[in-house]
Point group: C2
Chain length 394, copies 2
């Protein structure tokens, strides 16, 4: 049982932010119909790597969706889209501001056809404000939110977060706002419009950083693997790599000195006796700890910290992550059969719920895979469908 069983989502999105949002809605049971542009669909279909000609990125970001190809630049295409909207509960789009209006598929127009529609727009900068008309990708949002300026090596150039963090932020923020709007609709019977921006969504996540700045004017800078407020809470060199030490409070620091590195005198050392002092002398602290930790391999220290109850762990490369026993035990790698790519591996679903768990129900659609099925549902005849193909509308 999905919580959104019976909910139909019309997905006009491309790239990552929008597709990630609608994929999550699909995991919750919604019927997601991805409407892709004629002739070539979502731009990500052109992004490698490919399996039997299918973009793996597209397949990863569009699980649990049906696919329709439709030419929204034709009058007939838009008419068909309106028919589809009459059957829909939610629309999600991530065009630049203004594009849906030009196409005649903006919220005001669609609301007239389906008054309780929930309509969510995801854009780089949002529908309002001085930058709203600009095109914006994840990296620009990382630049504007300040997140890039606080990531990287100490004293070095700003570094991108390894994943497209603002795209994901936009997607999940849209997702929970849509669920909230759907709850509102269940209670009050009315739809609404939701404006989500990549920039706002990621910026809202800088909770500790805002506290530091608003509270003390601290401007966070790249700091390698170190925490800005707690020490030792960072990666430290070992004999064969790095180990993460998470002695984030006084109790854990004392345990670490006593039971992991057997250096109880460090607890009373005036440079390290409080967290504030450890942060103040973090360079010295790191050097002292490195001199100790470099004598043994990472696994040894992870095990010792485990025994002592001090949070610690390795820094895995991504191939190690995807082969890790715990990741596998949590079901975070799944397989699914794709019509042209065959059996493929995909990421599993976070959030394990007992009654209405998120589920993996179908692979990403091939381009236009469900066009006929959906048009038949809208009661178009085989002749009408054939003629739409000829006219390059589907």
């Amino acid at each position: 049982m999905g919580s959104l069983d019976g909910v139909r989502v019309i997905d006009l999105t491309h790239a990552l932010a929008g597709p990630y949002c609608t994929m999550l809605l699909g995991q919750m049971g919604a019927e997601v119909i991805k409407v892709e542009k004629y002739p070539d669909g979502d731009m990500i279909r052109d992004q490698g790597p490919y399996i039997n000609g299918e973009s793996y990125g597209f397949m990863m970001a569009n699980l649990n969706k049906k696919g329709v190809r439709l030419n929204l630049k034709t009058e007939k295409g838009v008419e068909l889209f309106y028919k589809l909207i009459e059957t829909a509960d939610v629309v999600v789009e991530n065009f630049r501001p203004g594009v849906t209006k030009k196409l005649g598929i903006d919220y005001e127009t669609l609301k007239a056809k389906k008054p309780d529609l929930i309509y969510c727009s995801i854009t780089g900068y949002g529908q309002t404000g001085p930058y709203s008309q600009k095109g914006g990708f994840d990296i620009m949002a990382q630049g504007l939110s300040g997140i890039m300026s606080m990531t990287g090596e100490k004293g070095g150039a700003p570094a991108k977060v390894g994943i497209a963090i603002h795209d994901i932020a936009g997607g999940v923020t849209a997702m929970y706002n849509i669920l909230s709007a759907y709850i509102h609709r269940l209670k009050k019977g009315e739809g609404q419009y939701i404006d989500v921006s990549l920039v706002d969504s990621g910026l809202a996540w800088t909770v500790w950083e805002a506290a530091g700045y608003f509270g003390a004017g601290e401007v966070p800078r790249p700091n390698g693997s170190r925490h800005r407020v707690n020490a030792p809470y960072q990666g430290i060199k070992t004999k064969d790599g790095y180990v993460l030490v998470g002695a984030a409070n006084q109790r854990l620091w004392e345990k670490f000195c006593q039971s992991v590195i057997h250096r109880p005198e460090l607890i009373e050392d005036p440079r390290f006796n409080t967290n504030d002092n450890r942060i103040k002398h973090v360079d010295e602290l790191e050097q002292i700890l490195e001199d100790i930790l470099v004598t043994q391999p990472t696994d040894y220290w992870v095990e010792e910290m485990g025994k002592a109850g001090v949070p610690g762990g390795p820094i895995l490369s991504y191939d190690e992550t995807l082969a890790n026993e715990h990741i596998l035990a949590r079901g975070m790698i799944q397989e699914i059969e794709h019509p042209t790519a065959g059996m493929i591996k995909v990421l599993g679903i976070p959030g394990k719920a007992t009654e209405s768990p998120g589920q993996l129900t179908r692979p990403a659609p091939t381009l236009g895979q469900h066009t006929e099925e959906i048009l038949q549902e809208l009661e178009l005849s085989a002749e009408e469908i054939a003629s739409l193909k000829e006219e390059e509308i589907i």
Copy 2:
């Protein structure tokens, strides 16, 4: 109107992942009652900076909540908690696995008292799997998920993402799973248990990276500000800093050459004529572009890219972010009056909805601020409350 008006959330969380989740539920209108441990409450209350003795981090992560202090290590404390649970819809906790059972406040116990309860546990590693009994903070999750190993300078040490990305991931994943469970409850009348881990939640966001690895065995490594798949899509040096160039597809690359840097010959250059070739020759490409872009300041290039319709932007430091005209115009900085800290600045709400928007309704509670109010609601007399204080239960 909040979509969760009338929903009561009992918030047993501390630090960031759990509090971020319940803060979002509060934005949607839920009445969130944060139950803090006796005597000193959430550990974040001890984390600076402080305003009039109040931790700014605590105030940032606990907006829209009421606060109760309760000693759950006493029988009477637990009895009171059970009374409170009878009035609740949702419980969120982020203790280590096993702690709630020991305290007698685990899902099975509370379900017997409130059968349709939604109960969400957030932990570092989840309730199952070989690492489930370990303590885990955000940084260990960054290490295990592989996200640290793909962040930082090219060839350099792994770097932490500038924000606590897995804490936030756990918080928002819990949030949307709770909304989904609430929808299920509205439809079917039943509650459920939700198990969210920091590791799973962030790992699920590595969509492109999983595609690269599953599809082609690519192991993502730190790559500075560069994108792994598109070029030029990175920060490039200018006269006074860096500018982000987002020429993520062929059309934008051509526009960039023609209208921004006026070097149309680069379009046909066999090293740069396709995205694949640009990625292959990205060092040369970056050098050529740097030689051009370093002649003018960042603002000049941002403006030229804006005119040409090529996504571009600056890399702001966090103080610049919080003073930026667009960030301000989007309402991303708000003020709220805190009972002891006075008027403070906080981050605004992403996701602007027309009918049931997220809202900022109250500041974070001082320790135990609403204990008496809530106990009075549970029909305890002034005498009983006084005696609970004396017994060090509240």
